[in-house]
């Protein structure tokens, strides 16, 4: 039985209902919320500010330090609080993605702290986190060469789809699930973050790239509208 209709009835290239707004954390220099359906991420940016201890400073550039964390009750089986290898890896790929679009040589010896918290998880948490973090950076007034937009492209059985859910990640019929989170720059469409888990024929990867480009264009639109002050909430 092949995957001909998505479990939640969306079209193959359709995103879940999006929620996006900025300025949700009063103390932060910049902050934002981004949600794909039931996956909700918030991000706060503090900086640029001097980096302590001093020996961690880079003399010619600033660094972006990211901390991704999930609320223990964001998932069905309680996740033990504290960093895990997974959360450290996600923190790293997020920091790398954001570092690609910020000219860090403008802030030598400083750090920009990006803190991401997942309030509710239904797959694509890292993508929601990156979208929120990028918006928070822009909201903080950090000069960015381009915006970045992130989405999980899936290959569920043999169908390429945009913005996969937890239920789709657990779909093991046919060729099973493949999760491909992409983060692309807004104008030049370059890859600043990419991971993959599952099974996709080498000759089909280009289809996933096309799906990602289209999905990221849609996400970019939400991010820019939110940065202009709109409070977007497509959830019923």
């Amino acid at each position: 039985m092949s995957y001909t209709k998505r479990l939640d009835k969306r079209k193959f290239d359709e995103l879940r209902p999006i929620k996006a707004e900025v300025g949700i954390i009063p103390n932060a220099d910049g902050s934002a919320l981004f949600a794909f359906g039931k996956t909700i991420a918030i991000a706060a940016v503090y900086g640029p500010k001097p980096l302590h201890p001093q020996h961690m400073q880079e003399p010619d550039r600033g660094i972006i330090r990211c901390n991704y964390n999930m609320l223990p009750f964001s998932v069905t089986e309680r996740a033990k609080p504290g960093p895990s290898r997974r959360s450290k890896e996600i923190s790293m790929v997020t920091a790398n993605a954001l570092s690609s679009v910020v000219d860090l040589t403008r802030f030598p010896g400083t750090v920009i702290d990006v803190d991401i918290l997942i309030l509710q998880a239904n797959a694509s948490t890292r993508c929601a986190g990156i979208n929120a973090a990028a918006m928070a950076l822009a909201h903080a007034g950090v000069v960015m060469k381009e915006m970045v937009s992130s989405v999980s492209i899936g290959k569920i059985d043999d169908k390429i789809v945009a913005d996969i859910t937890k239920e789709e990640e657990d779909y093991h019929e046919g060729e099973g699930p493949t999760d491909i989170p992409f983060t692309l720059t807004s104008r030049t469409k370059e890859i600043v973050h990419l991971q993959l888990d599952g099974k996709i024929q080498t000759h089909r990867f280009a289809e996933a790239v096309e799906c990602a480009k289209n999905a990221c264009d849609k996400i970019l639109d939400y991010q820019m509208r939110a940065l202009k002050g709109e409070k977007i909430n497509e959830n019923e």
Binding site: E190, I191, L194, Q201
Partner: protein
């Protein structure tokens, strides 16, 4: 001690002409040697050298309760460390981000490929399953430790034997081995990392080349229904990868898979255990 900026400039200038410091072409691989059975108390071990880079990998096994959502499947945990012996830059202490990433990327390449038949590791559904513990140690770092680690993990899994297990007491008799190999399939994963220096791509970097690079794409490929399929992928580094560079990486990975798979299989087969 080399000054990193001068080295980086030399490397970039040479690459513009398609050349490298050691005369290799951009996608040439250094010599790979694989030994197994290098540490006898483990269920399986390997020692892999790529050029002067060297890793030792051990497989240990244990009996555990399965995960609640995979009650009839075995489990696997992969860890990696750079021993301080591996280079001046490595200090004793908990695994840093570079080790954590290597462990997780190697793990996913194996896990997603279907190389291990998880269901055959089940002893009693919902109660007891075999757990595979892979520990990777780098003992000399001259670049490309990620790919060396992946080769080492696959080789160690291939030669590993189940320890003796007492079904009644539920205890493993460590140090006593059976003749039974792990339930492995033909989907042997090959992990390949491509590094970007300036605007050029290369494969199998030395330490200096890796230090000069700003971005990396690692992908793990295995055969699925006779076609090459990507099982895992991870981008590293703080600069971007263009979409056409991604195309080139996928194409080169298909060619390199055809070169590396027979090389690795031949070396492992030649080993008597």
């Amino acid at each position: 001690m080399q000054l990193p900026n001068i080295n980086k400039k030399r490397i970039i200038t040479l690459l513009k002409e398609g050349k490298r410091l050691d005369q290799r072409k951009p996608y040439d691989i250094r010599d790979i040697t694989i030994e197994t059975g290098v540490s006898i108390n483990a269920e399986g071990t390997s020692r892999v050298k790529i050029g002067k880079s060297e890793v030792i990998v051990g497989v240990k096994m244990d009996v555990q309760t399965p995960y609640t959502d995979h009650e009839d499947e075995g489990t696997m945990v992969t860890s990696m460390e750079f021993s301080p012996v591996a280079g001046e830059r490595y200090e004793a202490g908990p695994p840093q981000m570079d080790s954590i990433e290597i462990a997780r990327v190697v793990d996913r390449g194996i896990r997603e490929s279907g190389f291990i038949d998880w269901k055959k590791l089940c002893i009693k559904s919902g109660e007891k399953v075999w757990s595979i513990l892979i520990d990777i140690y780098c003992i000399n770092d001259d670049g490309n430790i990620l790919d060396a680690s992946a080769i080492g993990a696959v080789a160690a899994l291939k030669v590993a034997k189940f320890p003796v297990y007492n079904e009644e007491t539920g205890k493993v008799k460590y140090g006593e081995f059976t003749e039974n190999s792990l339930p492995l399939t033909e989907h042997l994963p090959i992990t390949m990392s491509f590094y970007k220096i300036g605007d050029k791509l290369l494969f199998d970097p030395t330490r200096d080349e890796e230090d000069a690079s700003e971005a990396r794409i690692t992908l793990s490929v295995s055969l699925f229904k006779k076609e090459k399929a990507i099982n895992s992928m991870q981008k590293g580094g703080i600069t971007s990868i263009k979409l056409n560079e991604m195309d080139e990486i996928i194409k080169e990975s298909e060619k390199l898979y055809d070169i590396l798979l027979p090389k690795i299989e031949k070396q492992i087969k030649a080993i008597k255990k």
